[in-house]
Amino acid sequence: MKPSRHLIIVIAGRLLVLAVVLIGAELGVRFGLLSPLFFSSPTQIATAFQEQLDQGTLLPNIGITVFETLLGLVTGSLAGVAVGLLLPQMQILSRVFEPFLMVLNGIPVIVIAPLFILWLGLGLPSKIGISIYIVFFAMFIPVYTASLRLDRTLVDALRVLGASRWQIFRNVIVPSAMPSVFTGLKIGSGLALIGAVIGEFVASRAGLGHMILYASGTLDTPTLYLGIIALALFAAVLSFAIDALGPVLVHWRFADEK
C-alpha cells in the first residue's frame, strides 16, 4: 500500500515539473518575457516538427544519427570486448600495446574527429568511425582491467577439475568480465551518440547534429530545440534498452531478487 502511494506521488511530481517547464516556456515566449531568439514555445517547436516532417527531412536525419550511433556502439563494443579479453591472455603483447592504448584513450575525441573526416569523407563512414573509436575505449578499458584482476583461485580450482586453457577462458574469464561489459555498454551507449553527433558537427550533410548546427546558423531556434529534444529522447530509449540487457549479461546477480 505505502510503496504504491509513494510511487504515485513521485510520478505526479514528475508530471508537475514537466507541466511547469512546458507551460512556463509557452507563456513566457507568448508574452515576451523570454526572447524567441533564445527560447521557443512548445507550439513553435511543434510547428517546426510539422514543417520538418512535411519537408521529409526530420525522419531521415533521425534515422541517420540512430544508424551511426547503433553501428558505432555494436562494432566498438564487440571490438572492445574482444581486445579486452584476448590481450591479457598474451602477456608480452599486452605489455607492448598497453601504453599506446592508454595514450590513444587519453586523446579527446573532438580532436580526433577531423582526422576521421579526412580519412573517411563527409558521409556516414566518418561518423561511424568516430563512434567506434570512442566506444571501443569505453568498453576496452573496464574489460581489460577486469581481465587483469581475474580471481586466480577460480582458475586454479578449474585447473584441478581438469579444465583446458580454452575451458578456463570460456567458463571463468569471459563470465568474470560480464559485469564490466555491462558497465562498458552503459558508458559506451552515451559515447556512441556523442561520437556520431561530434562527427556531424565537424563536417556533414545530414543527421541530427547537422540539423542542429544548421538551425543554429540560420537562427531557427525552434528547429534547434526540436533537434535537442529528438537527441534526448533517443538517448533515453537507448539507455533503457541497455539497462534491460543487465539480466541477460549478469543473470546471476538478478537471479534471487525475483
Binding site: 583461485t153 577460480l154 586454479d156 580450482a157 578449474l158 585447473r159 584441478v160 577439475l161 581438469g162 579444465a163 583446458s164 575451458q167 567458463n171 571463468v172 563470465p175 560480464m178 549478469v250 543473470h251 546471476w252 537471479a255 534471487d256
Partner: protein, 259 residues
C-alpha cells in the same frame, strides 16, 4: 597412496631464489588422513598445489600410486580455502562442472550432480546461486563438486577456517566419513591443532621457511571416535594437543629470535 619424496620448491624472487620447501617427505596411504601444520606462510599451501599438479616441484617428486604427478588428474581432488564456486553457475551447475569439463554427456552429469546434492544435504538449493548460500552450504557444494569426479585423493587447504564452530564440526565430520567410506587418502592443511588431531591419523609438522618436516605425530585414537566432535573429549586428546602445541611454539619463538 600419495607420496611426497624429497620435495623441494623454490621460486625466483626479486632478490634471488626463495626456498619455500626443502626435502619434504611423507606418505598418505589409502584410507588415511594426514594433517599438515606449521607456522603461517611456511609453505603448507604450496605443498598442496604441488600434490594437485598445479605446480611442479623444483626437486623431488610427488607420486600417486607410484606414478609421478605431472599435472591435474581426476584422481586428485582439492578443496580450497576461498570460495571457488563459479558465481554465474547455480549449485547444480557448479556440482556438475568437473564432469562437464571432462566431457560427460549432459544427462549423465546432471543425474550424478543431483544425487550428490541430495547426499550432501543441498536438496532444494539446486537452482540457487552461490551468493545466496551460507558459508557452510558453499563448502558442501564445493565438496560435492570435487567428489563428483570420484577422486582417490582429497586435498584440503584450510577449507573450514571461515566457518562458524558448529558448522565446521559437522562438515569436518562429513568429510572424514566420506574419506573413510571411499577408502580415500586425504591431506588437510590447517593451523588449527585441534582440527588436526580430531580429523587425522597422522600430523606432519613443518618448520618455518624453507619448510622441512620438523616432526611427525601418529594419532592412533581419533579413528576410534564415532564423530569428529567427540575427539576433544577423549582422554588422549589433551596430552597430544600439548605435545604438538609445544613443538609448534618452539618454532614460533625461533622465528621471533631470528627476526
Amino acid at each position: 597412496m600419495l607420496e611426497f619424496r624429497d620435495v623441494s620448491f623454490s621460486f625466483a624472487g626479486r632478490r634471488g631464489d626463495v626456498d619455500v620447501l626443502r626435502d619434504v617427505s611423507f606418505t598418505c596411504g589409502e584410507d588415511e588422513i594426514v594433517a599438515v601444520i606449521g607456522p603461517s606462510g611456511c609453505g603448507k599451501s604450496t605443498l598442496l598445489s604441488l600434490a594437485s599438479g598445479l605446480r611442479t616441484p623444483s626437486r623431488g617428486e610427488v607420486l600417486l600410486d607410484g606414478k609421478r604427478v605431472t599435472g591435474p588428474s581426476p584422481l586428485i581432488g582439492m578443496l580450497f580455502q576461498q570460495n571457488t564456486l563459479l558465481p554465474w553457475r547455480s549449485v547444480a551447475e557448479n556440482v556438475e562442472l568437473g564432469l562437464e569439463l571432462r566431457g560427460q554427456p549432459k544427462a549423465n552429469r546432471r543425474a550424478a550432480a543431483l544425487a550428490l546434492i541430495r547426499q550432501y544435504g543441498l536438496a532444494g538449493f539446486e537452482r540457487k546461486y552461490p551468493h545466496a548460500l551460507s558459508g557452510g552450504m558453499q563448502k558442501r557444494t564445493a565438496l560435492a563438486q570435487t567428489l563428483a569426479l570420484n577422486p582417490e585423493v582429497l586435498l584440503l587447504d584450510e577449507p573450514f577456517a571461515a566457518l562458524d564452530a558448529q558448522t565446521r564440526v559437522v562438515i569436518e565430520n562429513d568429510v572424514v566419513k566420506i574419506c573413510r567410506a571411499g577408502r580415500r587418502s586425504m591431506v588437510i592443511v590447517t593451523h588449527d591443532i585441534a582440527e588436526a588431531i580430531s580429523m587425522a591419523d597422522r600430523v606432519v609438522m613443518l618448520s618455518r621457511r624453507p619448510a622441512m618436516v620438523k616432526e611427525v605425530f601418529e594419532i592412533p585414537f581419533s579413528r576410534r571416535a564415532a564423530s569428529v566432535a567427540d575427539v576433544p573429549a577423549m582422554p588422549e586428546f589433551t596430552p597430544y594437543f600439548k605435545r604438538i602445541w609445544d613443538a609448534l611454539d618452539i618454532s614460533i619463538t625461533g622465528m621471533g629470535a631470528a627476526a
